[in-house]
């Protein structure tokens, strides 16, 4: 059974149907990709799966538990974490503080009004390890606002990763990155994918085809093809589309 499933999920905004009865399965410890042209409904799909939007119909199931319509906070606590296409880091915090906040021990102590976070060596160590994992070792004390664009992208992923999720959703992690930075990011994703389930929405086809175990192609709010990168390259529909040329 898949770790995460979307079953006949339907979402519309007014008259515009964005997701039409889509089914998605994400297997545990696999890296799954979602690709599709602009406006295909990829980000809306992520928003529905991670609780930002409630679907009009259908079910979202995580590890056998129906999480349809649950709040993002409740979903996050279950071990589902996500990054954003538009960066959502905490600019006034240092890189270390950014990744400390989602650490589960810190979250559990969120209401300890007099607890001294600075002296919590276990949580601080975990946060520092996450920064090292995403390539930001040595940047612990740098303010997020002072980091370069590529470093902020890495921090965005670090924040999602620090929550120690069972499944990590990454929304267009290469957005705005150059070739070299994209290659670095690919290395980082390869490092972090051990022991964790990852789902990536991506425009950068080479990035996705080199990393993903399985790719779902979304077009007009529907899943039009599913398969390994090699299977998709051979798929006549994908070959006929612009996506095929890019892949």
């Amino acid at each position: 059974m898949a770790l995460f499933e979307a079953q006949k999920v339907h979402k519309r905004f007014g008259d515009h149907v964005v997701l039409e009865e889509i089914n998605l399965d994400f297997e545990e410890h696999k890296l799954s990709g979602i690709m599709g042209p602009n406006g295909a409904g990829k980000t809306t799909c992520f928003n529905v799966l991670t609780g930002r939007y409630k679907p009009d119909r259908g079910r979202v199931v995580f590890d056998g538990i129906d999480i349809t319509g649950k709040s993002p906070g409740a979903i996050a606590k279950m071990g589902i974490s996500r990054s954003f296409q538009v960066m959502n880091v905490f600019d006034e915090y240092t890189a270390l503080e950014n990744v400390l906040l989602p650490v589960p021990e810190v979250r559990r102590r969120g209401l300890h009004l007099l607890y001294d976070l600075a002296n919590d060596s276990e949580s601080n160590d975990k946060a520092a390890q996450v920064l090292a994992k995403v390539g930001l070792a040595g940047k612990e004390r740098a303010l997020a606002s002072d980091l370069s664009y590529g470093e902020r992208r890495a921090l965005e992923i670090g924040i999602a990763l620090a929550a120690e999720p069972r499944i990590l959703f990454l929304d267009e992690p290469t957005a705005g990155l150059g070739t070299e930075a994209t290659a670095k990011l690919a290395d980082m994703v390869t490092r972090i994918k051990e022991g964790i389930t990852i789902v990536i929405i991506e425009h950068e086809m080479n990035f996705l085809f080199n990393l993903a175990d399985v790719i779902n192609v979304i077009q007009w709010g529907q899943v039009v093809a599913v398969g390994t990168p090699d299977e998709l390259r051979a798929n006549p529909w994908v070959q006929a589309s612009n996506l095929g040329k890019l892949a």
Partner: protein, 341 residues
């Protein structure tokens, strides 16, 4: 391994000790600089109120435009308890804190799901409702005449009792409350709770996706801020020997916002304190030269918002950064370097 800013783990910081030293010795030199005992008391009480308010505005980014109402409720609660229940200072203050927190918690249920302009307008509306109820409910509050004959009850410790009739005696009692408030709020803003509310100010949506119940945190911080307002209100009622509706007006709710912003509450724990002191100095010093002192104070606010929205504390921090750069460049600094916050 790297840690978070280590200064935050301290119970006492140099800035805190400076603030305690200044306010602790204030009665010794206040009249020497041409001021009078009551202003010291008034400033200290408003500093307590402003520190609690800054928890909302400066730390969580929630602009409450009706917070004066909670100062007023604290005063009425203190007076009512003393006049109708038990004439005991400690129980009266606890009652003021509890009742104001209760009102705050009820209002927070409605406002914590809002942010930005909607949050501001809702707090303004609630503030106005409380103001008009207090104005018209004369049997409870005394209406426009106020709740009179509130006593400065003695601080009774069982084995010894101190009279608070004298302004300076009450000042030192308020100073003790100020020290407690500073210590508690300092730990609070540097706890995980404090980190979460500051994160809410920066990016509320992301905090929700990290597994925190944002609405609950907003509700709680509003309630705590109101509890502090209740303490300040209770002390203010003692200082004035009465509780009056004027502090609940829109004007005073606006002034606490001005104080906090001018002082630099957005960038420093001490911004609210600085802003309160500046307001009272402007009132009493500018006020001796012109009746239009509030106009000049307003202009000062406009200039600050346009050129230095981080307020006076922001200017101070810029000065510290400048000195650090000079030191790094090998030029000896002109004055000793102050700490970060």
């Amino acid at each position: 391994m790297e840690r978070m800013i280590s200064e935050t783990s301290k119970w006492f910081t140099p800035q805190m000790l400076v603030a305690f030293a200044i306010f602790g010795t204030l009665p010794l030199w206040l009249e020497w600089v041409g001021l009078y005992s009551y202003i010291g008391l008034e400033v200290l009480i408003w500093v307590i109120f402003a520190l609690g308010f800054n928890l909302l505005l400066g730390y969580t980014g929630l602009p409450s435009f009706g917070h004066g109402a909670f100062l007023g409720i604290g005063g009425y609660a203190m007076g009512w308890f003393q006049l109708n229940a038990v004439p005991n200072l400690w129980l009266g203050l606890l009652f003021a804190i509890f009742i104001t927190a209760l009102f705050g918690a009820a209002v927070a249920l409605f406002v914590s799901h809002r942010r930005g302009i909607y949050f501001a307008l809702l707090t303004l509306a609630f503030g106005q409702v409380f103001f008009f109820v207090a104005s018209k409910w004369t049997t409870l509050t005394g209406g426009e005449d106020g709740m009179l004959n509130i006593k400065r009850l003695p601080a009774d410790f069982g084995f010894v009792s101190f009279s608070l009739q004298d302004n300076y005696a009450l000042y030192y009692f308020a100073f003790a409350m100020f020290v407690v408030t500073v210590l508690v709020l300092w730990r609070l803003v540097n706890s995980p709770f404090g980190k979460v509310i500051k994160a809410i100010k920066q990016n509320e949506m992301r905090v929700g996706f990290l597994g925190y119940n944002v609405y609950f945190f907003k509700w709680l911080v509003f309630t705590i801020s109101c509890a502090v307002a209740g303490l300040a209100g209770g002390l203010f009622a003692m200082a004035q020997e009465g509780a009056y509706v004027q502090v609940m007006s829109l004007q005073w709710s606006g002034i606490i916002v001005l104080m906090t912003l001018i002082g630099g509450g957005f960038v420093s724990f001490w911004g609210a304190l600085i802003g309160t002191v500046v307001f009272y100095l402007a009132r009493d010093i500018l006020g001796t030269f012109t009746d239009t002192w509030l106009l000049w104070y307003g202009l000062m606010f406009m200039v600050l918002v346009m050129f230095k929205p981080e307020g006076i504390a922001g200017m101070w921090q810029d000065g510290v950064k400048y000195l650090r750069r000079r030191r790094a460049a090998g030029t000896p600094p002109v004055v000793a370097e102050p700490a970060r916050d």
